[in-house]
């Protein structure tokens, strides 16, 4: 291991930032994938994997990914909720890998709602 330079402190912090965001439960955006039995049967794992891949591929550091149980809307599974810090959570339904990717690129990264897949914003229904 070569001697550290001052800049290396930042580099290491940056490299570990994603891990720390998870540990601290912080982050700018929280994505929740609903993983009840129905969700898993409907393909929630695939959605989860898509998000994991996106985070790695795009080297995103301030997004946390979590799961919850059944959301009570089994017919519209797989579902995910995107919550940008300080904004109302948005529920997306009938997801597949393609849709998840688009939601990640648009809503999670750029903050632009993907209206076509959204079911509700906060407690307000869209579809």
């Amino acid at each position: 291991m070569p001697k550290l330079k001052i800049e290396d402190l930042e580099k290491i912090s940056d490299e570990f930032k994603r891990t720390m965001t998870v540990r601290e439960g912080g982050g700018k955006v929280k994505v929740t994938v609903h993983m009840g039995t129905c969700g898993i049967a409907a393909g929630a794992r695939e959605i989860m994997n898509t998000f994991v891949q996106q985070i790695e591929e795009k080297n995103v550091k301030d997004v946390i990914l979590t799961t919850s149980g059944c959301a009570g809307l089994c017919s519209r599974e797989p579902m995910a909720t995107v919550e940008v810090l300080g904004q109302a959570p948005v529920k997306y339904v009938d997801l597949n890998s393609e849709k998840a990717k688009k939601i990640f690129e648009e809503h999670v990264l750029k903050g632009v709602l993907v209206k076509d897949y959204a079911l509700s914003i906060g407690s307000e229904r869209i579809q």
């Binding site: 402190l9 891990t19 601290e24 969700g39 919850s68 149980g69």
Partner: protein
Amino acid sequence: MKSYRLQLMVCAGTGCVSNHSFEIKDALEKEIAKHKLQTEAEVVTTGCNGFCGAGPLVVVQPDGIFYQMLKVSDIPLLVEEHLLKGRPVKKLMYVPPKEEAPIPKMSNIPFFSDQTLVALRNRGMIDPENINDYIARGGYKALAKVLMSMTPDEVLQEIKKSGLRGRGGGGFPTGIKWETCKRIQSDTKYVICNADEGDPGAFMDRSIIEGDPHSVIEGMMIGAYAIQNICEGYIYVRMEYPLAIKRFNIAIEQAKEYGLLGEKIFDTDFNFDIKVRRGAGAFVCGESTALMTSIEGNPGEPRAKYIHTVEKGLWDKPTCLNNVETWTNVPPIILKGAEWFSSIGTGDVTHDAWGGSKGTKVFSLAGKVNNTGLVEVPMGITLRDIIFNIGGGIRDGKKFKAVQTGGPSGGFIPENLINLPVDYEELTKVGSMMGSGGMVVMDEDNCMVDMAKYFLKFTQEESCGKCIPCREGTKRMLDILENITSGKGKEEDLNLLEELSNVIVESSLCALGGSAPNPVLTTLKYFREEYEAHVKDKKCPARVCKQLLTYTIDEKQCVEVGHGCGVCKKNCPDNAIIGEIKKAHHIDQNKCGKCGVCYDVCRFNAIRVE
């Protein structure tokens, strides 16, 4: 680099390790692999979380779900339900005493939510054996800041302004200590970290080292830079702390590999190195002069301090000794500024370094509270907040009686002072002290005379024997207390205890003797009637002192309810119980050895104790 969406933080402090937390870790990894989740979930071992009574602990991040008292057999359910299906497992969560609903999130549990973390800022967040984790949480940034942009004097002024005072016992202003050491002319000086932590039951320092060793190292480096001409640092670790010694050694190795210890640190002219020394095992070796003698390889014995160690310390060179927790506080002060630090706490330190208590203090909360463990609180918090909010109140619904602060030679504080703000001055005013942060809570079932005797016995045995008052005086006091608790006390004894205490306090060389009588003095002050009950009425109101109890049989209860069953008679080791089956029994007080067996064996509640 690989990222995981889940981080499972397994507590690997000494407490949890002895509760088999490494087996929990193995089980987690096995189950995670079984469900093919190893790309999603990482298992990390951390230092102590402080909530040791609830161990083994696992916190699942990012949601901060807190699992407690885990068994290996709970792990398959935890992994399948929570990690795979996203349903946190209620039955493995913490339920507050006397309540039914569990609290899922760590940050909502009162034990954690009412704390302020400065010294323990990385608690549960990092793997202490990985320097990158420390750096990722802002570690070594303060060192970089002082080396790049601050003069040694500026660093010194910052520490002075912050109002930081020693956390090891005396509460000496840290900036002034550094400044004095800096002013002495010498091209060889030392800094030392005191990690001897001899107080029985206290583990503040151990937990900091085991959980965050680099924070201590970084603090020492900043101190060395501020004082200048420091050739080396020493860390003196208590012998009984093998895990702490191991973690320090790993941390030092890693810091050396990164060039953070050694020569030309960050390509500046600053050089620094640290060695770890294992303590000699005696309580008195935590005292500054004894500690230095012990590092030099001689038996640890205090010496008179008319020459201060900042002038003539280790190998007669100017030496700056600070406690583990003191050093740990240094990096955040540099990063966040003296004003931030001094905004926490009490008093005003702008003109008088002794004028206030700033920052936080870590306490080891023990005794009769529901939540025992390690807590970090802002200076000035009330005893009530610590004991009843964070500590969750007294166990089994009993009544609070007193709290002892400051370690074995701290004083007892009674219930009517429960709203006392915890800071250096207030604790000293009521006859106790901050000490290094011991806090033992006592309830109605504790006898104050017996407790004072217990603590005095500890310090008496640890006296190094150099001064006669400390050596013989404490022995004499102990004899008197022994007499009082066994019914042979006289009324004059109380005054005699006070006189002896005063002599010992005044004529002892070090603070061990100087503070040893505190438990006796404060209990005499606040609980004198309890002493009087022992010497005048030969009674122990808390029913602890066996020799002062009287066992009798409620004859009516014995015949009518127990039908004179005779069990007590059969079990009495002194043959003190007289009576025939189906008839009333009674106790011959002349024969009764007060063992309490009859009380324990009577199933009909017929034995009375007073």
